[in-house]
Symmetry: C2
Subunit: 359 residues, 2 copies
């Protein structure tokens, strides 16, 4: 097991990465001084699989935690579902000393996190990420929120958890496609911040794809440590934190154009990273061999790397225009100078489109 | 005009109190470095009266601010109204550099503040309080939120504004009853924190009731400076900030029992302060003469000070049980040792009830 702290002054909190941590969440929460009632927010995929173990693990804190199970899927990141979470908490007379345990992937982390941020103006939040994407990325950093018909994550708050536990054992049973999409975020951290990690990932790719616990623990902890460093330097995403959006400007627009369907998030990001790496070749001096190296790793991980045939849609353009990072009509992009070194750049959407059309 | 800063590290911001400030909100916002588009959230009472002047004042920032006008009244502090605010902001393609101007009383400050806290994970907020209660109390401190059918302010966030402007001129045209309820919060600050201010209020009561601008500016600025000191010491209400609830434990329960109707907030707080002062006499050694002094001032200001005949209801008890400040079955109360010195105490609801029944 590895553990470290995210240092954010009054919002500092520990992160645990290891095998079998789901069984320890109650004890770890108690070690953090938490002692109120617990509500587990989970979804219809994760609940049947892990709820029994989570409730047993929480019993040192709360013998009968409240269970709030929502439908699996992005559609649960809605104001309606959020309202039902509030209703359940209030009907059960939860008070400000209670805690919300987010047991699930990114959707549950975002939804339960936003509920924790806004219930009685904020109650304790424990992130127990069960998907690979959530473990390596979304569980840390305090971004919470829900979607709006006009776009993803448009309503939300920055709200730090009191505790994060990433249980590597949960990755063993993930469907292959879900596991592989997580690898897109893993390699992203290496690409923007850590050339040595990138080389290690190249060396370990086969072991990673076999899901060997030691390499998974290494990868998850490495990503979370990198993310922690970024978030510590820039909690509210004004500067440094923008680097984490490598692959996401194009990726988000692809997802939005597909109406949140078709491509998984990690798959869209994989395509986005290669597109933005090619742009980096044109605009930031990235070596062609480095673009190939990134693409090779992603292809080896079974991830798509080419824009879908029908990408050049009105919807894609609209999505770019609505991107939260746009500023004065410009789209903010993350480019690579080399593997391990990301930089930010603002360009006109039309320029981005030309480069996507003619790589 | 008086001005000072609320010192909250990265969330520090200025407060201006003076005559004619509504005309200067755009310039003051620009002086704070704000430069994006502006949305004015207001209500059907305040909008017709002040919107034209507010829009003119904002023109140095945004020539055509977005106007979002909601129905006047507590019922607009709802998830439905909040959803409509999000819709309007997104339809107008507001980005994260935009700002929300809360032009109104406490309801608008809370609703618009919560929208600002959660739109795109937080945009700039300007508080332009138009009611007396909002000017002396709710505009400062960062409490934002909406109601739930099970209680007031149960959903919300701590979110600091970037700028507060309290225009004393707006108090001139307030209906008498609304003006007088604001005085309950004014005397509350004196009662819990500042004996000299209490003596000054006793001396100035006639001038205050005539709404003389100089005494009003003194009173509003004094309250906001006291509140700023409390909030600086305790942003998230774990300790010191609890003092501000003097009169509010009983007051809130009265309001809730009346179904948010009947009594105005300041009137309920006036009754609550006298009830809690009597309790202070029994439990905290407050002199009977001091209780009489507080009651005399409130009565002189035309505020009610006795529990309504029908207070002993199930609803009142339920409301106490649902109070956000309760802990382990105890109700947290603020008592006075003497005028100018509040202390907190936890007691059983039944004990509180006995004292209310037999003062």
């Amino acid at each position: 097991m590895q553990s470290f702290r995210v240092e954010l002054k009054p919002r500092s909190h520990p992160v645990y990465v290891g095998y079998g941590l789901l069984e320890q969440i109650g004890e770890l929460a108690r070690a953090e001084g938490l002692s109120g009632r617990a509500a587990v927010v989970t979804d219809s995929n994760v609940g049947p699989r892990y709820l029994t173990r989570a409730l047993r693990a929480l019993s040192p804190l709360d013998r009968v935690p409240l269970v709030i199970q929502v439908e699996a899927g992005e559609r649960s990141k809605s104001l309606d579902t959020l309202a039902r979470v509030y209703d359940r908490l209030l009907e059960a007379r939860f008070d400000r000393h209670s805690m919300i345990v987010a047991l699930g992937g990114g959707v549950i982390g975002d939804l339960a996190g936003f509920a924790a941020a806004t219930f009685l103006r904020g109650v304790a939040l424990i992130q127990v990420p069960t998907s690979f994407l959530a473990q390596v990325d979304s569980c840390l950093g305090g971004k919470t929120g829900i979607n709006h018909p006009l776009g993803k994550n448009l309503i939300g708050a920055f709200y730090q958890p009191r505790l994060i536990t990433a249980d590597i054992a949960l990755l063993e049973s993930l469907p292959e496609r879900e596991f592989r999409e997580g690898l897109a975020e893993v390699v992203k951290y290496a690409a923007i911040m850590d050339e040595a990690m990138f080389a290690q990932l190249e060396q370990d790719q086969a072991a990673i794809l076999r899901r060997e616990p030691t390499v998974l623990e290494y990868s998850v902890a490495k990503c979370l440590r990198h993310k922690a460093a970024v978030v510590e330097g820039d909690e509210h995403e004004d500067g440094l934190r923008a680097l984490l959006n490598f692959g996401h400007t194009v990726g988000h627009a692809l997802e939005a154009a597909a109406g949140y369907g078709g491509l998984l998030h990690g798959e869209a990001v994989a395509i986005g990273m290669v597109a933005e790496a090619r742009l980096s070749q044109a605009l930031a001096g990235l070596d062609a061999g480095e673009v190939a190296r990134l693409q090779r790793w992603l292809t080896g991980a079974g991830l798509p790397t080419e824009m879908p045939a029908d990408w050049k849609s009105e919807k894609f353009l609209d999505a770019l225009a609505l991107d939260k990072k746009r500023e004065a009509g410009q789209v903010r992009l993350v480019l690579l100078r080399k593997i391990g070194q990301g930089v930010t750049l603002s360009i006109a959407p039309q320029q981005l489109l030309r480069h996507l059309a003619n790589p």
